[in-house]
Amino acid sequence: MKKLVFFLFAPLLFLSCGKVPINEKGKPIHPFNDGFENKSLSLYDLLLVSDSSINTTFVSFPTRSGNIALKTVLRPSDFVYNGYRTELAIYNSSFYQSEAYYGFSFYIDSNYQDQSYTLLCQWQDLPDYLQGESWTSTPVLHGSPPPLLLHYVDGKLELKGNESTMQSDKTFAISPSIPIEKGKWYDFTTHIYWDDTDKGYIEAWLNKEYITPSNGLDYKFYKRNLFNRSGNYFKFGQYHGGIKPTHSNIVYFDEVKIGSTFQSVQP
């Protein structure tokens, strides 16, 4: 009996042996390019919208490049999952110890009116799936503040980071507040090296001018930008968190790109 158990046990154990449960380093980012010319959102991995026929539509004016742009609408009733949002998500866009360039153009509608913040884009962290984690723990002890975000409030744009994995109010400024004119296109570009130590960095441009401060050598802002090694994923659109928008607001997007060079993500 003991021999039978041993001879059954040993080969089965060998055959079912898995890989070490840690994330690979330096996986290549999947390139992405959408000018919305084909009037489809099929390239996106997740649409966080309450009604895509209202929240995400295609327009021929204004456009940054080509003939079509994306119009995002966020209404006071657009509560999706745990926040007021109209967002599109791209997975496989930031891996542990890899680097990538991200670019998109945005246009704050002339009638936009709201004093509370909206996130125009964010890089959201992920559970460490290999270590058994998931989104749906009970109780939820791990908050979900994004490690990096682009924040628009009161007519100003600011690039921010999050210190805490638990609380969303522990943010710090990466760029100064930049006044933004409504009714005008802006090109936002950023270059990020993703790491769970302070070797991680971000440098960013608005209309090809640096918005990250100089550190004496270059314009890279060094700080941990992964909460774990699962990587982050990219979302853009309008996100208000738990604060109900006071008005229906419109922001246009065009030329959303992810690539390996600065030039590859320009409009």
Partner: protein, 200 residues
Amino acid sequence: MIKFSLFIQLLLCVFSICYSQENQLGKSTMSTDFGSYRNRYLYPITNLKYTTSIKNDWLVSVRVRSYGTLFYFSKTAYDITPMIEYKVIDRQTWKLYTGIGSDVRLRFEKDIRGTQESSVEPMLSISPYFYKKQWVFNSPLWTRIYSNGIGLTILPEIKYQFHPSWCVYGRYELSYFTVYRTDNSQFQRDCFIGIQRRIK
């Protein structure tokens, strides 16, 4: 094949518990603990462990770890760790056990952003136990063998017996995973507090 293998592993777990109950001459304990502050954030994990001694020198145990819950039942992930240990040194104040077992990782979460999958790994263990009055300190070292690397985990645990049948304990787990022929490695930290009851 993996599913079949997992099924057989689980059968062996059940078999080992039943076998040990029929033959046990010593004590059995049931312990449960909760955590964890893992790395830099809180994440709920529940452990349930049954240990029994057979023929004085042998310990058989099964630990079931549920991820993402403080209530034992998880829809997302479990680790099931059956183990058999042999007492190689027995002194008045300390004992040393060595053992073998397997680590059954069950991952039910389906998300294309992760590469998690279920698997079973063989495991070796060496566990010193130190005793002083109502205090017990033990620090097992587990070695898990993967198809492309190795994982070492040290689990120092301090236990205080406040009643003939009851103990409270705290445990820290530090794991180091490394992939062969690469410089890819990672530390993983977890902390737990728990309670143990002697049941026989």
